[in-house]
Amino acid sequence: MKTIKLFALAIIFSFAVTTQAQTAEEIVANYFENTGGEEAWNKLESLQMNAVVNQGFDIPVTIIQTKDGRQAIKINLQGQEITQLAFDGEVAWVTNFQTQKAEKMDSETIETFKKLAGKAFPSPFLNYKEKGHTIALLGEEIIDGTNTFKVEITMDPIIVDGKEVENKSVYYFEDENFVPIQTASEVTQGPTKGQTAKESFSDYTEVDGLYFPFAITFGGQPVDIKSIEVNPEIDDSVFKMPTQ
C-alpha cells in the first residue's frame, strides 16, 4: 500500500488562521477553503513530481499520477530508467530488478489499485463523500512537537491474503494552518504487518496556486521533491506494461 499512498499523497492547503475547528468536516473544509480552494483542486487532472531519494547515493525518482488513478514511479539508476511501479487503470506492474523485465503484481494488489483508483487524488479528503470515504475527528495530538487535529479517514476496504481488511489512515493536521504534517496507518501485509506506517510532510510550497509538500518521509526514507508539474503533458505509454 505504501506505493499507492506515495502516489496518493499530494496534499495541500493554504493558510487560514482559524481559531478552533470543531469537527472533522470543518477541519477538512478549512484545509481546502484556504488553499488554492476546492475548485482549483478539482481542476487538477494530473501531477508529475520530480524527486530525489538518497540511499547512500542519489536516486532520481519521477512520480506521475492522474485523476483517474493511473500512476507510474520511475527511477534512474546508473543511467538506466526503470519503472519501479505503474498502473494503467487495468494492470499494476513492477520491474523485476534481477531480470529487468516487467512483471504483473499479484491479482489482489491489482484489484486494490483498481478499487482505489483516483480515490486519493490529489488527497483522499477532496470530495471525500462522493468518493465514499468517511471521516472522524479522533482528537488532538502533539506531532513533531506541535499540536495537531487527528482525523481518521476510512476508505473502501481492500482484500489482503483472501480476507477483507479495513482501509483507514489517520491524518494529523497542524492546528494553526490545517496542513497535514503526518499520516499513520496500519501495515496490512508483509513482514511488518500490524505495525504502523508513518509518513510526514513539510516544506509546503506553492505551485500554480496550489500548495504541495516538497519534503516527504515514508517510513524513515526522505523524499526530496525538486519540482512539481501541474497538469503536465503525459505520454500514456508510461503506464502501460511493456510486452516482452
Partner: protein, 1028 residues
C-alpha cells in the same frame, strides 16, 4: 496569497512574544522533539504473561496481555507479535474481543491479576474500535487497580460485564461485577461482596449470555504478609444477565475458601470446572459439574491443581472436547479424561498463567508463562518460545565502562544477565550472558575488574562472578556467633564504592561491608530498620502456605555511598527509615523524621547520593504496598537535616527510582510506575518522556558516564535507553527563545568496523544499535511546515560535501551523518555495477553544517576524527583516500566517455536512417564505437543468473568499492589490479581519441556537408550534475 501570508506572519509574531520570567515553559514532546528511546530487549527470556485471547473466527489473530509490557497482537497465528497498547499503562489484567465486531473492537482491562508481591498496577478500562490503532479510556474504573474479567454479549456489543478484582493492598469499594448496556457510557455494579473481596474470575456461558459465573475472592497483601481466603470467597451464578446471583457451592469444600478459577466447556456448557483453594489439603483442587454448577464433584487434588492459587488459577477447556482441561501452574498440566487425571505440559519456562487453543485445531496451543509465550503444535507435548516479545522484567540495572558499555540486571523469575549496549547487526539473544539463576535482582559490575556481583531472592545466593574465567564464588554474608538471624529483602540491596574498587556492601537489617569483594564481611551498623515484630510474620499465604521469603520485611532496601565522601553512607529501609552515617558507619542517624508530608513507614525505594556534594542526596519513597499511589521524592543538601519535595502534579503515580545528571544538578530523571519523567529545572516541572518509551513501570535508572546514555531497567519492557542525554543539560530559557539554535556537535568518530552482523532469524527480536554516525542537534522554536528547509555539510572552503534530510520538529531535532559524501556517476550500461553505489568517506577534519530555512541561514562547526583505536597509520589512510578518489574519478571519466560514445552512436544511427548516404562514414563509426564500448560496459544480460561477463566499468566499480569501504591502504593485489584497470582505461582513452580523430571526424564532416547539426557534447561537469 499575500493577505494570507501576512496573516501567517502575524501569527508567527504572536508566538514569538518573549516567554515570561525566564522559565522553561516547554514540556513533553514539545521539548524532547526527536530524542527517541531505544528498546533493546532482551526477548530471549521474555517476561510474565497474564492473559491470552484468540479471535473467534480468525485463527491468525491472537492477543497477549502482559504483566508489565502492555498488549501484543499476533496476526500470523502466533509466530510473532506487535505491541498495540504503547501509549497506556502496561500492566494488563484481561483482554476481550467483541464477538460482534471481532476484527475491530477489543477491550482491555488493566492491572495484572496474578497477584505476586511484585505486581504492577492498572488504571482502568480501555477499548479500541480500530483493532488497536487508537484506544478510548472507558470511565468508571479509575480506581479498579485490577480487572480480571470482561465478558461481552455475543449478539450485542453494547452489553458488557466487567469483573473487578480491585485493590490488592487496601480496602476498596471498587470491586465486583459491573454491567453496561450502552457500550460503556454507564455502569451498574451488579455483584458486590465487601471491600476485601473482588472478582477473581468472570465467565459467560457461550451459548446463553444470561448465564454468568463469578468467583469472588477475599484476599489482601501487605508488604510483609499475604492472605488468601476467607468466609466471603465463593462462586456465584446468575441466570438472568446479572440481575440476581446465587452461590453455587453444592459439593464444594466446607469452611473458608480462597481463590477460585472457573471454566465453562464451550462444546457442552453444562460441564463446568472450578479449581478451588480451601482450608483442608484433602479437598483442594479441581471440581467438575455436569449440571451447570448445580452440583460439584472433586476430581483431582494433585500438586499441579493446588499449587499457589493466587498465582495459578486459570483453567481452560478445549473448545471442541469438554473432557480436555488445561490448568495453569508451576509447569501447567493437561487432563484428557474430564479432569480426573493430569499430566504435565511440555518443557517451557515455569509458572504457567494462561493457555488458549487454536480455534480450528486443538493440537495447537499458545501458553503464557513467567517467561513469555510458548506455542505447541502437538497438544502441549513440546513447546517453542515466541522470540520477539521483549517483556523482560528488570528489578534493577547497572552499567559498566566497557566500550560498548554493558548493561547488568536481574529479572523476575528469569535470573541475572548482562548484555552489550551495541552489537554488530543489533543486540540479539546471543549477546546476553546469564550470570545468576532463580529470580534475579541486583547485579553490579566491579568498578575496575572483569568481575560482577549477582544474587537471587532473599540473598539465598550472592555470587561473585569472574567474567573472564567464567568462575563463580558464593560470597553471601552469613550470621556469625552471637549475631541475630539476618533478614534480607526479597530484592536484597547491594552497592559498590566509587572510592575503593574492591569494596562491596550488602544490606540485611544491618549494613555489611567487605573490603575484599565479599570474601570477608564486617557489620557496620546496628539494626537500621524499625525491627517491628508485627511486620516479621513467618507464615504467609492464608489458606495455602506461601513462604517464599517474598514477604520478608523490616529490611534494608537501598544503600548509597557518597561519591564525594566515602565516609558518608545512606541506607533506606523498606519500613521507612532513612539512615545516614558521616563517619563510615560509626554513628547512624535516622533522618526520615525531618521530612514533612511523608506518611510514616513509607518504603524507601531508592537513595541517590549526589555527585554534586557530600551532603546532597535524593530519596524516593513509595507506599503502593499499602495502597498509597502518590509519588514521594525529596532532596536534601545538608545530610538529611532538611528536605524539600521535588515532585509536582505532573507525576500521576508513585515513583521508584531517580537518577541525577552528573553535570547539571537541575537535570533529573524519575522512574515511575507509568514511565519516565524528566525535569530540567530541578523539579519545578516534570515532563513525561514518551518517544518510543511506553509508560511501563521503571524499577531502576542509571546514567553511563562516558556516553551520557540514560539506561532504564523496566519491569515489563526490558532495557530502554535514551542515547546521550547531554543535550538536556543545555536547555536554558535563552535557547528556547531562539528560532533556531544549534547545540554543540560532539566530535564524530569514524569507527573502523567491518563485520558481518548477527544471526537472528526473521521472527527474533533484535534491539537497535546507537550507531556511530555524527549527530547534529538543533532546536526549532516552531515546526517547519512551509517553504524550503535544507541541511548540508560543507568543508571549511565552502565545498558541499553531503546533503542531509533535516528534522522539522518543534523542539530538539537530531540529524545523523554517516560520514559519507557522494557516489560516483557511472557509465550507462545494460545492468548495474553494484560497487558504484558506494560513497566516498569524508576525510577527518573540521566541517560546517548549514541549515537554510527560507532566507535564513544558520551554521555550526564540528569535527570528525578517525578511530582512536585504529592501528592504521596516517600515511596508509592518506593513500586509501587518494586512491579511492582516483578510482572515483576514473569511473566518472569512463561514464563521460560512454556518454559521448552513446551520443555519437545515436547520431550516426539516426543519420543513416535519414539518408543512406551517411552509411559510408556513419557505419564505420558505429562499428568502431561498439567494439570499444563492448570492452567498457556490459551491454547484455541481466542482474542475476543471466549476467554478462564484467567489463571495465564493472571491474572498476568493484575495485573502487573494495578500496573505498576499507580504511587501510589498498593491498598489493588491489594495487596491481588498479594498475591493470587504469592502463586499460588509458588504452580505451587512446582508442577513443583515435576514433574521434578518424571515424568521428569523417562523420562530422559528413554532417557539416549535409547541413546537419553537429553533435553538442555537454561538459563533463554538466554531465555529472545531470540527474539521470
Amino acid at each position: 496569497m499575500k493577505t494570507k501570508q501576512l496573516l501567517l506572519g502575524l501569527c508567527l509574531a504572536t508566538l514569538a512574544i518573549p516567554l515570561q520570567a525566564q522559565e522553561i515553559t516547554l514540556k513533553g514532546k514539545e521539548l524532547f522533539g526527536d530524542i527517541t528511546a531505544r528498546q533493546i530487549g532482551p526477548a530471549l527470556m521474555s517476561g510474565r504473561i497474564i492473559d491470552m485471547e484468540t479471535h473467534p473466527k480468525n485463527a491468525q489473530v491472537i492477543y497477549t496481555g502482559t504483566a508489565g509490557g502492555g498488549v501484543w497482537k499476533s496476526q500470523d497465528g502466533g509466530a510473532s507479535y506487535t505491541p498495540i497498547f504503547d501509549d497506556h499503562i502496561q500492566s494488563i489484567g484481561q483482554v476481550a474481543i467483541d464477538p460482534t465486531d471481532p476484527d475491530q473492537t477489543v477491550w482491555v482491562g488493566t492491572g495484572e491479576i496474578w497477584t505476586r508481591n511484585s505486581v504492577s498496577v492498572g488504571d482502568g478500562l480501555y477499548r479500541t474500535k480500530d483493532s488497536g490503532a487508537n484506544w478510548e479510556y472507558i470511565k468508571g474504573f479509575e480506581n479498579s487497580e485490577r480487572i480480571s474479567g470482561i465478558e461481552i454479549h455475543p449478539k450485542d456489543g453494547n452489553t458488557v460485564y466487567v469483573g473487578v478484582l480491585g485493590s490488592l493492598w487496601n480496602d476498596s469499594k471498587d470491586r465486583g461485577v459491573y454491567k453496561t448496556i450502552d457500550g460503556g457510557k454507564t455502569w451498574e455494579k451488579i455483584l458486590y461482596v465487601n471491600e476485601k473481596t473482588g472478582v477473581a474470575d468472570l465467565v459467560m456461558d457461550p451459548t446463553n449470555p444470561n448465564i454468568l459465573y463469578a468467583s469472588m475472592w477475599e484476599h489482601r497483601r501487605t508488604a510483609w504478609d499475604f492472605n488468601s481466603g476467607g468466609i466471603n470467597s465463593g462462586l456465584h451464578k446468575s441466570t438472568d444477565g446479572g440481575k440476581t446471583w446465587q452461590k453455587i457451592h453444592n459439593g464444594f469444600p466446607e469452611g473458608q475458601l480462597g481463590r477460585i478459577g472457573v471454566a465453562v466447556s464451550p462444546s457442552n456448557p453444562k460441564i463446568v470446572y472450578a479449581v478451588i483453594e480451601s482450608e483442608k489439603d484433602e479437598d483442594k483442587g479441581l471440581y467438575r459439574s455436569e449440571d451447570g454448577g448445580a452440583s460439584w464433584k472433586h476430581t483431582n487434588g494433585d500438586f499441579s491443581l493446588t499449587v499457589r492459587p493466587f498465582y495459578f488459577s486459570r483453567i481452560v477447556v478445549d473448545p471442541k472436547n469438554p473432557d480436555v482441561v488445561v490448568k495453569g501452574g508451576l509447569s501447567g498440566s493437561i487432563s484428557r479424561d474430564g479432569g480426573n487425571t493430569f499430566k504435565t505440559l511440555g518443557n517451557m519456562h515455569s509458572d504457567i498463567h494462561d493457555i488458549v487453543f487454536d480455534i480450528n485445531n486443538s493440537d495447537v496451543m499458545h501458553v503464557g508463562t513467567d517467561g513469555g509465550v510458548y506455542r505447541s503444535w502437538n497438544g502441549g507435548t513440546t513447546m517453542e518460545i515466541v522470540s520477539n516479545l521483549p517483556l523482560s522484567q528488570f528489578y534493577q540495572i547497572s552499567v559498566d565502562n566497557a566500550e560498548p558499555y554493558r548493561i547488568y540486571g536481574g529479572l523476575q523469575d528469569n535470573g541475572s544477565w548482562y548484555g552489550p549496549s551495541s552489537s554488530p547487526g543489533g543486540i540479539e539473544a546471543r549477546d546476553w550472558v546469564r550470570v545468576g539463576v532463580g529470580d534475579g535482582f541486583r547485579v553490579l559490575p566491579h568498578p575496575t575488574k572483569e568481575i560482577l556481583y549477582s544474587e537471587m531472592q532473599g540473598a539465598d545466593n550472592v555470587w561473585r562472578y569472574d567474567m573472564e574465567r567464567n568462575y563463580t564464588k558464593n560470597v553471601k554474608p552469613l550470621p556469625a556467633k552471637g549475631s541475630a538471624d539476618l533478614r534480607f529483602n526479597w530484592n536484597p540491596p547491594m552497592a559498590t564504592s566509587a572510592h575503593q574498587p574492591d569494596r562491596f556492601y550488602m544490606g540485611s537489617q544491618f549494613l555489611h561491608v567487605s573490603e575484599d569483594m565479599g570474601d570477608t564481611w564486617k557489620v557496620i551498623s546496628p539494626d537500621l530498620t524499625t525491627n517491628d515484630p508485627s511486620k516479621q510474620k513467618k507464615n504467609s499465604g492464608g489458606l495455602s502456605a506461601d513462604n517464599s521469603g517474598a514477604e520478608t520485611h523490616t529490611t534494608i532496601f537501598t544503600i548509597a555511598e557518597s561519591p564525594v565522601d566515602q565516609k558518608v553512607i545512606w541506607v533506606g529501609t523498606d519500613d521507612g527509615n532513612v539512615q545516614v552515617t558521616k563517619n563510615g558507619g560509626k554513628n547512624w542517624e535516622n533522618v526520615v523524621k525531618n521530612i514533612s508530608g511523608l506518611p510514616t513507614n513509607t518504603w524507601v525505594y531508592h537513595i541517590e547520593a549526589s555527585v554534586h556534594g557530600a551532603g546532597i542526596a535524593y530519596a524516593v519513597f513509595e507506599g503502593h504496598a499499602r495502597g498509597d499511589m502518590k509519588p514521594y521524592v525529596y532532596k536534601t543538601t545538608d545530610y538529611g537535616k532538611t528536605w524539600k519535595s521535588i515532585v509536582t502534579d505532573d507525576i500521576p503515580i508513585f515513583a521508584r527510582n531517580l537518577q541525577e545528571d552528573y553535570e547539571n544538578e537541575d537535570l533529573l530523571f524519575l522512574g515511575t510506575e507509568k514511565g519516565l519523567y524528566i525535569t530540567v529545572d530541578g523539579g519545578k516541572k516534570w515532563s513525561h518522556f514518551t518517544n518510543n518509551f511506553p509508560p511501563t513501570a521503571i524499577h531502576f535508572l542509571d546514567l553511563q558516564k562516558k556516553t551520557n546514555d540514560l539506561v532504564a531497567g523496566t519491569h515489563g519492557r526490558g532495557v530502554i535507553i535514551i542515547d546521550d542525554i547531554s543535550i538536556l543539560r543545555q536547555i536554558k530559557p535563552e535557547i528556547i527563545d531562539k528560532n533556531v539554535h544549534f547545540f554543540p556537535t560532539k566530535t564524530g568518530i569514524m569507527v573502523e568496523e567491518g563485520g558481518f552482523g548477527g544471526n537472528a532469524t526473521e521472527l527474533e527480536f533484535v534491539g537497535p544499535n546507537p550507531g556511530t554516525s555524527l549527530k547534529i542537534k538543533y532546536y526549532l522554536k516552531k515546526r517547519h511546515t512551509f517553504g524550503k528547509m535544507t541541511l548540508t555539510i560543507e568543508d571549511l572552503e565552502g565545498n558541499e560535501v553531503a546533503t542531509l534530510s533535516p528534522g522539522k520538529s518543534k523542539g530538539i531535532n537530531i540529524v545523523s551523518w554517516n560520514y559519507t559524501t557522494k557516489a560516483p556517476k557511472l557509465a550507462a550500461a545494460k545492468t548495474f555495477a553494484f560497487g558504484g553505489f558506494t560513497s566516498l568517506r569524508a576525510k577527518a577534519g573540521t566541517y560546517k553544517a548549514i541549515l537554510k530555512k527560507g532566507k535564513e541561514r544558520y551554521e555550526t562547526t564540528f569535527e570528525i576524527k578517525n578511530d582512536p583505536k585504529s592501528f592504521i597509520t596516517d600515511a596508509e589512510r592518506a593513500e586509501q583516500f587518494t586512491i579511492s578518489n582516483q578510482l572515483f574519478d576514473i569511473q566518472e571519466d569512463l561514464a563521460y566517455m560512454v556518454y559521448q560514445i552513446n551520443l555519437m552512436t545515436t547520431k550516426a544511427t539516426d543519420a543513416i536512417k535519414k539518408d543512406t548516404k551517411a552509411t559510408k562514414t556513419a557505419q564505420p563509426l558505429i562499428d568502431e564505437l561498439n567494439t570499444l564500448k563492448n570492452t567498457l560496459v556490459v551491454t547484455t544480460g541481466d542482474n542475476y543468473v543471466g549476467t554478462a561477463p564484467p567489463q571495465l566499468r564493472e571491474k572498476l566499480s568493484t575495485l573502487y568499492s573494495d578500496v573505498a569501504v576499507n580504511f587501510e591502504a589498498p593491498s598489493a593485489a588491489q594495487k596491481d589490479n588498479i594498475k591493470l584497470l587504469s592502463d586499460r582505461f588509458k588504452t580505451a582513452q587512446t582508442d577513443f581519441e583515435k576514433i574521434k580523430a578518424k571515424q568521428f571526424s569523417k562523420f562530422s564532416k559528413y554532417l557539416e556537408k549535409a547541413g546537419e547539426q553537429t553533435i553538442e557534447f555537454k561538459s563533463k561537469e554538466a554531465f555529472i550534475d545531470l540527474k539521470e
